[in-house]
């Protein structure tokens, strides 16, 4: 693609022809935009318009196309041409829909449109056609780590979809915790009685499935590579290691119950007759439908107390801070074990808030019908003895009470088996003796043993669970091609884990398929571009390797960054991080945006025509502005909006360039950051805010007011707010005056 031949096409449809001087825009594209071919069309996105562009591509050899029409988010199918670089000048949503249709404003509206055409041509001129990453792998095998209900379901579902599966289980049997249950919660109508776990049948189905290869008594001792080309070492307990290649990984390493011994005040470890929910399942399996006998003296249990939220939802910081979600239903189920065997057994569930999600409400009602007593109270102490005493505060009657029981069951909750906390270990690899997780069960053993520079396991989101976003991107971890499902992702019950596992299996298949085509995974799914860096310019500062939210960049032997393109999500955070600007994508680089900024015509200081640069995240802020336009919400005609892949990709040089070029204000619009982040690339917005927090010194150095640069969080729903932020900046500039940096 040595010769760049730009074809610029200006649309007259959707009212553009009436509002704008299209002929002038065509001239701008030709003279200033250096477009070899510049044409106008009455209705560019219809068959004739598209055919015109196609003809130019074929006959004139146009390889860079500038569409000056609607937003880049509209008509993507019509304007999708293969093997050409496409740039879009947003004249509809970006200009005529946000400007008033009056004679007085005609001039500045036209100037706005002309700038967008210049910017489009400038971007096209610096773009290259994205071609597939040559280093992609095409392995489509799925590795499932963990043979519990989640892992087994993932394996079966992936196999059903036609993919080869490796299933690795640490213990000697498949089934995990659900396999150790006597019965599980019902998953279908009428939700009234506990049901069979179904684990033996599932295990049999796996063993007889030719597509699934099972490794028992095995762990993952090494994982390296990228989607489509992972290489894993599977080590057997008895010794011996097998190396396998896989395309994607599902981490279903499950949970451990929170350690009973950490709750001595509730009798944990003090009496054999105080058990956790797993302990009760074991007793129920022994009884197998008969009378459940207590561990201390084998006496038939005549009364049992269930203590909910034992060591959970704890705000003192000593125990688990969260709700494990399944325990209320589990205790209800376990109380039914007693009631079903002998309705005369006294069963009391002491809870502070009974949470029975989904159809658990019917299950709860069924237990009440069976005579299980539910008492709202906060348990303070369990006194061991032959007659255990459960001391609690009755929260309805507001008084201290005591319940006597032969057996006490503590609902202790789930602790994720998420491996080592790579952030707690300072992100450094191969650290011996990881520090204890604050409220976990103690020493963490790595699950995946990743050879990534960023650490051995998946980054954690909250409370030791390794999701990346519980709501927006379930299963998506921050390591591309590795998906987590089941209680390692968030606390859940078996039914939810089954649904989770199915979702993760499909995600893993998508990742492997995308990787085989050299394309990006979510959220820029299908993107063919990938980051490249100019080795000779690199100073080995390692900012890119540290700031990449997805651990895509390692270091080679010479300490240069080593991009694993298949792990990359194409957010460009590395590009924003690079102080020497050597990282770029084919169709998105420091230049593609930088030249857009420089292409804008900046009138002199006395024109009273300021220029405001808006760098808007293409995921939330840009669509918000588009939607504002659809609602005809107007904003300053002096704003020039440039979409960016993520605010994290904003290189501070752009701000510098804009200010030295005479822009009067710069606004960065990114997604919500911090704990409840909404950034599609997890850390991008946060990184941008952090970088921009240091811009004040630069501004002062240039003797500019700090108000001229603003970084804000904009949600996709902020269709009123996003334009008002632009207008506020315009007002601020009016107050403090135009930038003196104009030439």
């Amino acid at each position: 693609m040595a010769d760049i031949k730009i074809g610029a096409y200006v649309c007259k449809g959707c009212g553009l022809g009436e509002r704008l001087d299209i002929a002038q825009l065509v001239t701008v594209a030709k003279r200033e935009g250096k477009a070899q071919v510049a044409r106008e069309h009455d209705f560019l996105c219809n068959g004739a318009g598209v055919a015109m562009i196609r003809e130019d591509i074929e006959k004139e050899g146009i390889n860079h196309v500038v569409i000056a029409a609607c937003s880049r988010r509209a008509k993507t199918d019509a304007f999708g041409f293969d093997n050409v670089a496409i740039s879009r000048a947003n004249l509809r949503e970006g200009v005529i829909w946000v400007q008033p249709d009056t004679e007085q404003t005609k001039e500045i509206t036209q100037e706005m449109a002309a700038d967008y055409v210049r910017m489009g041509c400038a971007e096209a001129g610096r773009m290259q056609v994205a071609v597939t990453n040559p280093a992609h792998g095409s392995n489509k095998r799925i590795l499932v780590v963990g043979g519990g209900i989640s892992g087994m379901t993932s394996a079966v579902e992936a196999a059903k979809a036609g993919y080869e599966v490796l299933l690795v289980e640490k213990s000697g049997v498949l089934g995990g915790w659900v396999g150790r249950l006597y019965r599980r919660m019902p998953s279908h109508e009428p939700y009234s009685d506990p049901m069979e776990t179904g684990v033996p049948e599932l295990a049999k189905a796996i063993e007889s499935n030719k597509r699934i290869k099972v490794y028992l008594n095995s762990v993952i001792s090494r994982t390296s590579g990228a989607p489509g080309q992972f290489s894993v070492d599977i080590s057997k307990e008895s010794g011996g290691t097998t190396t396998e290649n896989v395309g994607a990984v599902i981490m279903a390493s499950g949970f451990e119950p929170y350690d009973l011994n950490k709750l001595p005040e509730l009798g944990g470890g003090k009496s054999p007759d105080v058990v956790d929910q797993a302990g009760l399942e074991a007793l129920a399996r022994t009884a197998s439908g008969g009378a459940i006998k207590r561990p201390s003296d084998g006496k038939e249990v005549k009364s049992v107390a269930f203590v909910q939220c034992a060591g959970q939802r704890d705000d003192s910081g000593k125990h688990l801070a969260y709700c494990s979600g399944h325990c209320c239903n589990t205790s209800i189920k376990q109380a039914m074990y007693f009631k079903d065997a002998n309705p005369g057994v006294d069963t009391v569930v002491i809870y502070t808030d009974l949470r029975t999600p989904g159809n658990g409400e019917d299950f709860y009602r069924s237990a009440q019908r069976k005579g299980v007593i539910f008492t709202k109270g906060k348990v303070s102490e369990v006194v061991p003895g032959t007659d255990l005493q459960v001391k609690f505060k009755d929260l309805i009657l507001n008084e201290d009470a005591v319940a006597k029981a032969d057996l006490v069951v503590l609902a202790t909750g789930m602790v994720a088996n998420s491996g080592v906390d790579i952030d707690a270990a300072g992100g450094a690899p191969n650290v011996e003796g990881q520090p204890e997780a604050a409220a976990g069960n103690g020493k963490q053993v790595s699950v995946l043993n990743l050879t990534y520079r960023q650490g051995k396991d998946l980054p954690l989101l909250k409370h030791g669970f390794n999701d990346s976003h519980f709501i927006c991107f379930p299963y998506e971890t921050r390591r591309t091609g590795i998906y987590s499902c089941g209680p390692v992702r968030r606390p859940m019950d078996a039914q939810q884990a089954i649904e989770d596992a199915t979702g993760a299996a499909l995600k893993a298949i998508q990742a492997a398929e995308n990787a085989a085509l050299g394309r990006a995974a979510h959220p820029r799914s299908g993107d063919l571009s990938y980051p490249a860096f100019r080795r000779e310019g690199c100073t080995q500062c390692k900012r890119c390797t540290v700031e990449c939210p997805f651990g895509a960049i390692d270091e080679d032997e010479q300490r240069y960054p080593q991009f694993n393109e298949s792990r990359c999500r194409r957010c460009g955070t590395c590009m924003g991080a690079c102080p020497v600007r050597v990282i770029s994508f084919e169709n998105y680089s420091v230049d593609t945006v930088g030249y857009q900024i420089k292409a804008v015509d900046v009138p002199d200081q006395f024109s009273e025509k300021p220029r405001i640069l808006v760098l808007a995240c293409e995921n939330d802020a840009y669509p918000a502005l588009d939607m504002a336009a659809m609602n005809k919400i107007q904003y300053s005609a002096f704003a020039r909006v440039v979409p960016v892949r993520c605010l994290g990709s904003v290189n501070t040089i752009w701000i510098n360039d804009a200010l030295t070029a005479g822009y009067d204000g710069v606004i960065l619009m990114g997604c919500q950051k911090g704990e409840n982040y909404q950034c599609h690339f997890v850390k991008g917005s946060e990184m941008a805010h952090y970088r921009m927090s240091k811009i004040d010194d630069t501004l002062k150095g240039m003797s500019l007011e700090v108000e001229r640069v603003r970084t804000c969080e904009v949600a996709i729903t902020d269709i009123q707010r996003a334009p008002s932020i632009i207008n506020e900046m315009a007002e601020t500039i009016q107050k403090i005056g135009l930038s003196p940096m104009k030439f």
Partner: protein
């Protein structure tokens, strides 16, 4: 302690919920309460109850037999049915309240001086006598419930209303002498006796 109460205490010992389920009208619903408190919040008399329905249900489950049965609370119910309409678990709360009151009364441990209970007794005696309510006798009985001088005072207070009713033919002063009985009042007595027998047998009360 009445004989019946003693018998019940022995029969159920600590398990008051089972006792309520067996003996109180609609008592088997008590276990279905999920303690949301909508009943207590909906009750127009809510703030005046010592133990609103939600609490009563909790106390039953907690085995507080005496506190529940000796309470004045369920006697406060005016049968407005707000709670029944709103209960998400569809408990017939009004009926349970009346059932509890009735059961406590049968056991002889209901608060002796509770005005609702006393009026209910008066009403029952009045209506069962002739199969029809003798309103004049019922009102006078109500006035004199708290003693002779109180009765005279209340009677005089209500005199203008009474005279107005007599004038418009709404009140027959001769009803004081009796009359107004339905035909075959004796048969009604027999029916009631039989019904009582059946109930006692069913609930295991000694008749």
């Amino acid at each position: 302690m009445s004989e019946l109460n003693k018998a019940m205490v022995n029969k159920y010992r600590n398990d008051f919920l089972k006792e309520v389920e067996a003996n109180v009208e609609e008592g088997d619903w008590v276990k279905m309460c999920m303690q949301c408190g909508v009943c207590s919040g909906s009750c127009p008399f809510g703030p005046y109850w010592e133990h609103p329905p939600q609490e009563i249900f909790m106390m039953i489950r907690a085995g507080k037999r005496d506190d529940v049965l000796k309470s004045e609370s369920m006697w406060m119910c005016t049968s407005c049915y707000n709670c029944i309409v709103r209960c998400p678990r569809e408990l017939p709360i009004t009926h349970i309240m009346h059932g509890l009151a009735n059961y406590a009364h049968r056991l002889g441990i209901a608060p002796k001086m509770n005005p609702t209970r006393r009026f209910a007794k008066l009403f029952w005696k009045n209506i069962t006598k002739g199969g029809r309510v003798n309103e004049l006798k019922l009102s006078i009985g109500l006035y004199f419930m708290d003693g002779f001088s109180n009765g005279i005072k209340k009677g005089l207070e209500m005199l203008p209303v009474g005279l107005g009713m007599v004038k418009t033919g709404r009140l027959n002063p001769f009803a004081l002498l009796g009359g107004g009985k339905c035909k075959g009042a004796g048969d009604i007595h027999k029916m009631l006796k039989k019904a009582q027998e059946i109930e006692n047998r069913r609930k295991g009360f000694a008749s």
